[in-house]
């Protein structure tokens, strides 16, 4: 059934401020703060928590009727004071909501007033303001807006130093840990933003924490303006909206934009870039990882070759996964996203030039009803994407591999590793096992040996 739709049913995207809160969570000793109704903070907290299984405090200016009518300056200022007194944060990351953007609150002005009024008080945290109206874009736009706003607030020009900025996009804490390890191996200082590898996937608390430990310190972000280069993952991320784009324009820090390094080819590009920038060879262990991955491709190809997949999620993830699946002989018959950058097809074409010949279809700005309609025609062997595809998977009896955000019907979403050779390995094993499990379940004999 085809629906000519104006409304959205079963959305394949979340709202702008959610991404900003997650990104702010990757700054050390930072409290995310939503300027709007308290419901936004509550909903976004419960949603992030359901994926990461970690506490996340998000403050709010708790709008009421009169603040909605007369403006939220007072509430924002009271809120900032309370967060400052209670959490003693280094940074408060303020993101707006549809409410405050609609009434047109001038947040920079309110922040100036606040700083003026409290200049003699307790130490003033750094205030970062990201404009994230929920009626524009999706959660991924809020994520990038917060990262860019952070760099814009903090980065300073300085003498070029042996430092590389890394803007990793909305990847998992496991991915972030791996990226940090790679930079350590290359022995090159890295300013990675955001870094929620610990704040969103940490241990029990042997002592009290107002804010969980971990994250990129503000003092390190200051140096972003004097780095040798910025590496930015995400092929649909435009320079005008990105942190690396800002640093290039403002401080002439060269911006290297890569797709998320999933698969051999894209991981190669990442490692080669690191080799070029540092003048060092990658450590032998990465060669090993790469060899094992290729070996696994060879061993596993018999299970997965020519399998048809429907992929959905954030656009950058979809582009990267399309490149990877094409590399292993699987066909993403539909690459779908709730995002709408206008670049999705173009970027896939760049990485998979024969996409049309392979039968790869691309659609942006879709919801799960659109995807399901496509699935009925395309008859995929399985789905790859976040938990929200489960209803469609169950209804149409299509197996599903969980990937991306949100994953709230499986355990360990925060520890799923996708990037680089090792992450791809984990992903590849999961894909192969999804297919094997399906074949095993479908077999009338019940093979125990596949």
């Amino acid at each position: 059934m085809k629906h000519a739709k104006t409304a959205t049913q079963n959305a394949c995207k979340l709202c702008n401020p959610l991404g900003a809160c997650l990104a702010f969570r990757g700054i050390e000793n930072c409290v995310p703060f939503l300027h709007g109704s308290q419901g936004c903070a509550t909903y976004i907290r419960r949603y992030l928590i359901s994926h990461y299984k970690e506490p996340i405090d998000i403050a709010s200016s708790n709008f009421h009727e009169e603040s909605a009518v007369f403006g939220g300056s007072h509430n924002l200022q009271v809120g900032l004071k309370n967060v400052t007194e209670q959490y003693k944060p280094d940074v408060i990351g303020i993101a707006t909501t549809c409410l405050t953007e609609t009434i047109g609150d001038d947040v920079p002005l309110i922040l100036r007033d606040y700083k003026k009024a409290h200049k003699n008080g307790s130490p003033m945290p750094i205030m970062i303001h990201a404009s994230t109206p929920s009626y524009q874009g999706s959660h991924i736009d809020g994520f990038h807006a917060a990262v860019r706003a952070t760099v814009k607030t903090l980065a300073e020009k300085g003498e070029e130093q042996n430092l590389i900025n890394l803007f990793p996009n909305m990847v998992s804490p496991a991915d972030l840990r791996y990226l940090k390890e790679i930079f350590r191996e290359f022995e090159v200082p890295c300013m990675m933003l955001p870094d929620y590898s610990q704040t969103m996937d940490g241990g029990p608390w042997g002592e009290y924490h107002r804010i969980p430990p971990g994250g990129t310190p503000a003092s390190a972000i200051v140096n972003a303006g004097s780095a040798r280069a910025s590496i930015e993952f995400g092929s649909t991320l435009e320079a005008s909206k990105s942190a690396a784009g800002y640093l290039q324009e403002e401080f002439d820090v060269p911006r290297y934009q890569l797709s998320l390094p999933i698969g051999i080819k894209e991981s190669d590009k990442f490692f080669s870039l690191l080799e070029t920038l540092t003048g060092k060879k990658r450590a032998e262990k990465y060669e090993d990882e790469r060899r094992r991955l290729i070996d696994a491709y060879a061993d596993g190809h018999k299970y997965i070759f020519e399998k048809k997949v429907i992929l959905y999620g954030e656009e950058d993830l979809v582009v990267a996964m399309t490149a990877f699946l094409s590399e292993i002989g699987m066909t993403p018959v539909l690459c779908a996203s709730g995002g709408k950058s206008g670049l999705l097809k173009k970027r896939i074409m760049e990485l998979v030039p024969n996409m049309e010949e392979l039968g790869i279809k691309v659609r942006e700005g879709v919801d799960f009803v659109d995807i399901e309609d496509e699935a009925k025609v395309l008859q995929p062997d399985f789905l790859i994407g976040n938990s929200k595809g489960y209803t469609m998977s169950r209804k149409n009896n299509i197996p599903m591999l969980r990937l991306g955000f949100p994953i709230h019907d499986r355990f360990g979403g925060q520890r799923m590793h996708h990037l680089g050779y090792r992450g791809t390995q984990e992903l590849f094993d999961r894909i192969v096992n999804t297919v094997i499990e399906e074949r095993q379940n479908a077999s009338s004999i019940g093979y125990t040996y596949m």
Binding site: H3, T6, A7, T8, Q9, N10, A11, K13, L14, C15, N16, P17, F33, S37, Q38, G39, C40, A41, T42, Y43, I44, R45, R46, Y47, I49, K53, P55, D57, I58, A59, S60, S61, N62, F63, H64, E65, E66, A68, N75, L76, V78, L80, K81, N82, E85, Q86, C98, L99, T102, S134, Y135, Q136, P204, W205, G206, E207, Y208, R210, K388, T391
Partner: protein, 546 residues
């Protein structure tokens, strides 16, 4: 059981909670942190605004209206008018279950409809898009009902969801379309949304279908949302006892049932906070009395059944109720007796909801556990102190903004189910009709009651009491567990349930046993263990009021 617990002196705990606050805040919070006395119930400040910048667990008006009250009815298409987030976040997150009678019967609960408002809609108005969305939903499903929920920007840009709904309702003729002004900034918490939802459901749904029902004991179940299948267990018991369930507000319900609700002879209320308005309005308009019951806990379920039988005053029903209780209890007893030695003497804290913090104390009592502190997230004074305080509650600006419907007896349908004399007689027998005596009356003298518990206070309470289990929601879960204390989610039940009735009670006993006696907690060293014996580690409080 109580004798085994060494309570800290509650007045000292209260002092310790308040002492780190600045004077103004201490004054404000001291009114919401109360040492209980069930014989002389003290006043609790509740349903007042959370101070900006203080992390609250409270939600918004939209969450209460769409998420809680309207969400569980399976054949209403709920369209959220606003940007995408609000609809997405309320998409199946409450674990409401429903059971359509046939495969063909409508069930829109798995769907998430949104007008997905874009910038141009904010600038030029979103009514046109809303009407197209309503038309689409109608063309696609031909539902009996479509409900529209306003999110924050809607009221501000001047979209009139009520006019749009009316226009479409008249256009369709066979589909009841109605709107809710439940913008997130209205009221103090989700509680405002409950009231708005009650008004809308009462105005637009109840009383539209006069189909008679031959059932002898016709009741409505109010304030039960079928989380984890709770309603299924209650339905099972009702059927066994011989009660005819006309409608449920709103777990496992349909539009048709709710429209027919006014033919019932009794409303039983579970969650007083979210649905008491409905009980009152139906009593005024149709003459149906309401009675507070609790089906959380095996003993409480038995007690509630007896109360219902007493209300109807039918000897056969009373006898049947006793038979059912006698049939159900042996299984419950067998299970609890096996578990009791492992749970007796342990302590619990409950900070949740507008009624759950009260109801679940019964289950902990059955487990031999003591509730040392409890409080609600979004309740009002009457939920703590009982409805006797209602006339004394000050109406503030936030409550004034929520419409109070003017309800009068229906000229045709008003029919008092009980005469004044009969009601007086029931009261004589100890039945509380149209009343609720609140949580505090049931709590022990030394327990602590805290409304809208702050983050700081919860950590402090855990540190002082070191409870064996903490009951709240997903937002609190992982921070409490980081301190080595298991947290049971009582909004969504983690993945569990049902917890109502006799089967539910045994599910809960087993779940709590698994949680409090789990070996993993031994691996976690709590902060206070490091900080020294019961002494505060590093958490201090300070904040400013408005």
């Amino acid at each position: 059981m109580e004798a085994n617990i060494h309570f800290p002196d509650p007045s000292k705990v209260r002092e310790e909670l308040i002492q780190k606050y600045p004077t103004k805040v201490a004054k404000k919070r001291s009114k919401s942190i109360i040492v209980n006395d069930p014989d002389l119930i003290p006043e609790v400040q509740a349903n007042v605004r959370t101070v900006p910048g203080i992390i609250t667990q409270r939600g918004c008006s939209y969450a209460g209206c769409k998420g809680v009250v309207l969400g569980p009815t399976r054949d209403i298409v709920n369209i959220v008018h606003g940007p995408i987030g609000c609809s997405f976040y309320a998409w199946l997150t409450r674990r409401n279950q429903t059971r359509p009678e046939t495969l063909e019967d409508a069930n829109y609960i798995p769907y998430c409809f949104s007008t997905d408002m874009q910038e141009e809609n904010v600038v030029f108005g979103g009514e046109k898009k809303l009407k197209v969305a309503i038309q689409e939903a109608y063309d696609l499903f031909h539902p009996k009902s479509i409900a529209i929920f306003s999110t924050c920007p809607v009221g501000l840009i001047g979209d009139d969801v009520h006019a749009a709904s009316k226009e479409m309702r008249e256009k369709f003729g066979d589909c009841n379309v109605f709107g809710f002004s439940c913008e997130g900034y209205r009221g103090v918490s989700q509680s405002a949304g409950h009231h708005i939802a009650n008004n809308g459901v009462f105005k637009h749904m109840v009383g539209r279908n006069n189909t008679p029902n031959e059932g002898k004991f016709k009741i409505n179940l109010l304030g039960e949302y079928n989380i984890g299948g709770d309603a299924f267990e209650i339905e099972r018991i009702f059927e066994k006892v011989g009660l005819t369930l006309i409608s449920s507000f709103s777990g496992n319900s349909t539009v048709g049932q709710i429209e027919n609700a006014h033919i019932a002879d009794l409303n039983v209320i579970l969650c007083h906070r979210s649905i008491n308005y409905m009980g009152d309005m139906m009593e005024t308009k149709y003459g149906i009395p309401w009675m507070k019951v609790n089906f959380v806990g095996a003993d409480s379920s038995a007690k509630s059944l007896r109360k219902i039988a007493e209300y109807f005053g039918d000897e056969e029903l009373k006898a049947r109720v006793e038979e059912v209780i006698a049939e159900e209890m042996p299984r419950v007893k067998a299970i609890i007796e096996e578990i009791l030695p492992r749970t007796t003497g342990k302590t619990a804290m409950l900070f949740v909801g507008g009624s759950r913090a009260h109801h679940y104390q019964d289950l902990f009592t059955e487990l031999g556990m003591t509730t040392v502190a409890a409080g609600y997230e979004f309740a009002h004074r009457d939920d703590y102190e009982g409805r006797d305080v209602l006339p004394k509650i000050k109406v503030d600006a936030d409550s004034k903004n929520i419409e109070e419907l003017k309800v009068v007896p229906d000229p045709e349908l008003y029919n008092p189910r009980k005469t004044e004399a009969e009601l007086a007689e029931l009261k004589e027998k100890g039945l509380e009709i149209n009343g609720y005596s609140g949580m505090m009356k049931q709590m022990t003298k030394k327990s602590l009651v805290v409304d809208d518990l702050s983050h700081y206070e919860s950590e402090k309470l855990i540190e002082i009491y070191k409870p064996d289990i903490f009951c709240a929601g997903i937002k609190e879960k992982y921070v409490v567990q980081k301190m080595g204390v298991p947290l049971k989610q009582l909004h969504s039940y983690d993945y569990g349930g049902p917890y109502t009735g006799f089967v539910g009670a045994t599910n809960f006993y087993k779940d709590i046993d698994r949680m409090v006696n789990n070996p993993v907690w031994k691996l976690i060293k709590a902060p206070w263990e490091k900080a020294g014996n019961g002494k505060s580690g590093g958490i201090e409080a300070s904040y400013v009021t408005q």
